[in-house]
Structure formats: structure tokens, C-alpha cells
Subunit: 316 residues, 2 copies
DNA sequence: ATGAAAGCGCTAACAT
DNA sequence: ATGTTAGCGCTTTCAT
């Protein structure tokens, strides 16, 4: 075929064919090819929530690596709704993608397991790891530890946590906070406020903290959106950040980086995670690995303007 | 076939088949079906920049309406790069999507025209409308007019514009600013600063304005990101918003709505635009319309906290 | 080197 | 109501 290998054809003929292709707007039919080859060289991505800027980074990492590995990428979204997610996954599977990446899926475990029976699947950023599919997560435990450590290094002792409800990684980040507080000998200072992974959730959590007689000198919020909500609550209450209260988030999303917000946070390397996910998939597709792998990527501290020493030196 | 109509089959047999389907993880092959039916009932979306939160709204509108109309949606991204966009479009076309939505494409006109020869195409949010494909845009002229009008209603006269470089809609918004200033008899007050549709671009534009002896009392930035950058510059210079200078953006993206930023802006209804795009496509696919249509959706003013009256009453 | 034929998994048309 | 057959646009195999 001229359109691919193009060997052993005279220049004259090739030119004629290429010309015809151009004039007729000919384009190979990927479905016909996929049917006979029994593979599509397409990776399917189901993103639970396109609104979350974190996933933009994940997708861009996926794209980049997939291209290197000779795959195309098709994206569907699940609208944060299990049933929509399920049909988005089904959609991709009926198209016979060669592999599936599920980014923060909220779908049931058995939906994922079922998909895994048809095609290699890697689950990104989901706490519950059913052992059958590969997974890529960030080390929420270590990240939470980093956050607490950073605050402790400034001399903070009374460090509160605003938790993230059912959000991805929220439970483990809370665990990380608790264990870090223990590790630093601050078990008595542990203080958790209820929250969610939204601006509103952070606002409410901070409001609860503001009711306390003895305010914490630092607050670790379960994600950036939540931290931004808390920031608003504190500033409305007349507190200065970081002078009166230090604040740290988690994710390092675009908003955290806005100069106007400039939130100290824990970076979750979405693009790296996306690249890893593609690697796991191609290992199964092109190198037939079969034992499941569970990748954990390291988070890192990004210091910006919302953390500093407590107003009064911690005495002893 | 049992998997679709399922008429005239005994319950017993149907159950047996359904059971077998379940056990074998059978799933219809969309490629085989597409091959024979010569249509896929899939709409392809090429989004130039997934990082921009505006597109999340567009995609969600597309999804919703597509579902109503009986279509599935597949997304690819172009990474703000013409060549990547082109291959993303090609990818979708080889899969034989029934229609194509291009969101803010930066690809060449002839690439778009070429795609339009194979399949219905609607172009979203692009200034240059080649007349062959359908388009959906927001009325940037009217939106810019709204912005100026809002500032004028507070008594502002000296209203500057920070422009948006090559960003989508930037040119027309500038035109809208100019003509609105004329309409309100403020032609002498026209003042344009160079900028871009990024935070950095807005920051620089505002810095240029700050060099002036006679500062404008209000600033209209070509988009929200740009406005946020300007906000930073003004506050760093010790100015209060809106007391010293009022600020209005364009887009109404998620960041503008953050309580901490609370930017007055012009709302561009991304979800409506997505829905319209699907409607235009299905008209061509299912009702074979052929004359091109160019939809223009109305923007609206969203008043938040960055605009107010000028510090001194405008003296006549 | 080039041509011919079979078949991928489906649907549609026709026959029973 | 059920079964049979042809063919969608490709790739692969086998023959020339």
C-alpha cells in the first residue's frame, strides 16, 4: 500500500496515487483497519471530572507519552457520576481501545474489574486498589507528612486539618496528617475540621475552626480548592495569612499558582502520573506483562506565600 | 438481535442469551457496526486547550445535548499547537465520526475546510469564519459593550482596555471597547494597553498603565486571566480595587468566581455554546440542512466585587 | 512485484 | 419467526 510502506513503486505512480488521495479527500478507515488487525492502537481515557484543573495536567502527560509509544488517545468524561462514567467506559470498550486509563473513577469496583477482563486497565488516583488492575497514585501519606513537616519547621505546633470528605485521596491524607502529628510529638494538638474538596467545604471547615477559643496557628487543608475556601474565611474574619495563621493545601493546581492566591501546597505531579499510566498500559499491550503493578509517585512541597512562622515563638 | 430490539423471543431464550453475554463479557463491536451502517453516531470534539477552564463548560454542554440527541462523544486535544490539532482532527476523521466540533481551533483555515468536506463541522469560538462550516461564537462586540456600559453606569469616564493579543475573540473585544467608548462619547478617553490572554499578559499591561501620570479609574481586561494579572499589579502598587480602580474581565471562568478573587466579568455561556454546536451538527446529520449557519450567543454581565464608582465624582 | 481471495464482526436484505 | 447471505473497507495470505 502506498499510504504506508511505499516500497517498490515508481515515483510516477506514487505521485498519481497521492494526487488522487488528495483530490478525493481519501482517508483510511480506522474501523475497517481495526476490525481486521484486531487492535486499534488507541488508548481510551475516562476522566471523571474535566472541571478539575488537575486532570488537564494528567491528560497532557498521557498524550505526550502515548504519542512516543505510537498510540492515539481518545477521551470521554464521566461528569463525576458513576452511571455516566460507566457508559463512558462502555463507549470506549465497544470501540475496542487497546487500553483504558481511568482517572479518579467513582464507578463501582466491579465495573472496573469487568472492564479489566476485556482490556488492560490502569486506575489513576483512586484509594481502593482492587489488585487486578494496575494503578497509579500519588503518595498521599508522604505528601501529608511533608505538609505537616513544613509547618513544624516554622515552629508551628497547633496545626489543624480540614478534611476532604469523599474526595480522591482525602481519607489517606487525613491518616497522613494524624501519623505525622504523632511522629512530631504533637499528638495532643491534633484537630480535625469537617470539610470537602471544594471551596465551600474549606470555607465551612475554617468557620468551624474560627469558633474555637484557641485558634490553631496553622491549617493544612485536604486540597487546594478547600484551602482557598479556608483562606477566604480567615481573611473575612480579619486574620492575616500567614501572619495570623499559616495555610497549606494539596494538589498544586493552577489556582494555587495564581499570584493573587500564591498558596503553599503539595504538588501532585499529574503529568508524571499520566505518563506512568501510559507506560503501564503499553507494557501490557506490547510486552505482555501480566502481574499487576501499583505505582506510587512522590509528591513534593511547593512553598509560596501562605506559610510562615507563627506570630509568637512556640515556647518550648 | 437480542441485544437491541429483542422482540418475538421467548423469555427463556432471551435469558439464556443475556446470561451468555454476561459470562463471556460480550460487547458489540462498534467498529464492525460502524463499517456496515456507514455511520457511528459519534461526535468528535477537538479542544484546543484543556487547561482553560472555559472548555470544561463547553464540553459539559456538548455531552448533555449529545446524549439527548442519541450521540456519543469522543474528545481529543490539540495542545494549543496547530500541528497537534491537525492530527487530533485527522484521528477523529479516520474513526469516521458523524460530526466534528472544533473548540477554539488554531489550525489553519484549509485544514478546517478540508475536514468540512468529509463531515459536518462546527467551529466554536473562532474569529475568522470561513463561510463553509457552521460556527458558534459569543457576541464579543456586545460583551465588550456591556463591560464598558457597566463602568460608565458607575460614572467612570477614563476607562482603559488591556488587550488580549492573539487570543480567541481578543481582536473583536477590542473593537467592541473602541466602539462603545465612542457610543458613550468617551472617544477622547480611549486608552489601550498591550496584553495577552494570560495572567502575565495582564500584569504587564497593568504595569504599563501604572506608568501614566493620570491613571484610569477603570480597566477592562480582555479576559479573566488577564484581569487577574492586572489585579495583582494594581494591588502590588498599593491601589485598592475597586476603590482606586475598577476592574472587569471577560469569560466568567471558575477563577473569577473564587470568592477570594470575585471578579466582575462578562459571562460567556460555554455550556450553551456547546449545546448549540451539537444542535447545528445534528441538523446536518439527521435533518440534512446544508446552508451554513453562524450562531452568536449573547454574553451577560456578572457583577462581583471588583467594580464600583470612581473615588471622585466625575465632574460633568 | 502484482493480483486475487478470504475474512475481521456486524447489519440488512432476502428467503424460508 | 428464524436462517442465510452479501458486503462495509481494510489487511493478510497465497498465487501468479
Amino acid at each position: 500500500m502506498v499510504t504506508r510502506g511505499e516500497v517498490g513503486v515508481s515515483d510516477e505512480k506514487r505521485d498519481a496515487i497521492l494526487k488522487a488521495i488528495d483530490e478525493l479527500d481519501y482517508r483510511p478507515n480506522a474501523m475497517a483497519r481495526g476490525l481486521v488487525q484486531r487492535q486499534t492502537r488507541i488508548l481510551g481515557i475516562m476522566v471523571s471530572d474535566l472541571q478539575n484543573p488537575f486532570f488537564a495536567a494528567v491528560v497532557s502527560g498521557i498524550q505526550e507519552r502515548a504519542e512516543e509509544r505510537g498510540f492515539r488517545v481518545l477521551i470521554t468524561t464521566g461528569d463525576r457520576t458513576p452511571s455516566v462514567e460507566e457508559s463512558a467506559i462502555e463507549n470506549l470498550l465497544e470501540l475496542r481501545v487497546d487500553g483504558l486509563i481511568l482517572a479518579s473513577p467513582r464507578a463501582d469496583d466491579d465495573v472496573i474489574a469487568r472492564a479489566g477482563r476485556s482490556v488492560p486497565v490502569v486506575v489513576l488516583n483512586r484509594d481502593t486498589s482492587d489488585d487486578t488492575s494496575d494503578s497509579v497514585t500519588n503518595d498521599n501519606l508522604a505528601g501529608a507528612h511533608l505538609a505537616v513537616e513544613h509547618l513544624v519547621s516554622f515552629g508551628h505546633r497547633r496545626i489543624a486539618f480540614i478534611e476532604g470528605g469523599a474526595g480522591a485521596g482525602a481519607r489517606i491524607r487525613h491518616q497522613g496528617y494524624l501519623s505525622a502529628m504523632h511522629d512530631f510529638g504533637l499528638a495532643d494538638e491534633i484537630l480535625t475540621a469537617e470539610g470537602r474538596h471544594t471551596e465551600e467545604g474549606g470555607y465551612r471547615g475554617a468557620m468551624d475552626l474560627l469558633k474555637l477559643r484557641d485558634l490553631p496557628t496553622a491549617v493544612f487543608a485536604s486540597n487546594d480548592l478547600c484551602a482557598i475556601g479556608a483562606m477566604n474565611a480567615f481573611e473575612e474574619a480579619g486574620l492575616s495569612i500567614p501572619e495570623d495563621v499559616s495555610l497549606i493545601g494539596y494538589d498544586n493546581n493552577r489556582m494555587a499558582a495564581l499570584r493573587h492566591i500564591s498558596l503553599t501546597t503539595i504538588d501532585q505531579p499529574g503529568d508524571d502520573m499520566g505518563r506512568s499510566a501510559v507506560d503501564r498500559l503499553t507494557e501490557r499491550i506490547d510486552e505482555d506483562r501480566t502481574e499487576p503493578r501499583h505505582d506510587v509517585v512522590a509528591p513534593s512541597l511547593v512553598v509560596r506565600s501562605t506559610t510562615g512562622p507563627p506570630r509568637f515563638e512556640a515556647k518550648s
